[in-house]
Symmetry: C2
């Protein structure tokens, strides 16, 4: 189970990156149950919305994610996020599954 944050392109990329990596990520890393975070930097938008970055935050399972979302550490991270990414962020919960490469499903 993972929490996914999609960020639209900010006006000031450098200020955003500094805030994200120097203040937000360390706060997120304190959230109980978080196993790992994978950052994707988007380099091209081929179609649709112009997103800048995605963070995929993995929790062991659905109950670990629920507990993490309700934690005071998450509240602190959310408050921090509002300070630099209000209006830029889409926040989703999801489950991932690798697909078989066969072309005969």
């Amino acid at each position: 189970m993972k929490l996914i944050a999609l960020y639209k392109r900010p006006n000031d990329l450098q200020a955003f990156e500094q805030a994200y990596f120097n203040t937000h990520l360390p706060l997120m890393n304190k959230v109980p149950g978080l196993r790992k975070t994978v950052i994707t930097r988007f380099t091209r938008t081929l179609m649709g919305d112009d997103f800048f970055m995605m963070a995929e935050m993995y929790f062991t399972d659905s109950s670990a994610l629920k507990a993490g979302l309700k934690s005071p550490e998450m509240a602190a991270a959310g408050e921090n996020l509002n300070g630099f990414a209000a209006g830029l962020v889409t926040l989703l919960v999801g489950e991932e599954q690798e697909q078989p490469m066969t072309t005969n499903l």
Copy 2:
């Protein structure tokens, strides 16, 4: 290097899923250089845009992805996509990096 497709929630979920998994995914699996595809089904939208699904399509490197994007197999997959997901899809290119869990960066 990966190609990321984000899908907004379609009106007819069942028709979308059938088209995606039965026709689009098999066409995408023919694209040269594609190593694996990871599907994320979004179960909750906590903030921002209401996306339904994400496909992360991994290629070995940037040149493999470029070649894949220019291939006739990708053109066929793109044409198929337009038939059922026009206006729903955001298509991005990105590079991912796992973050260290230390809180002292």
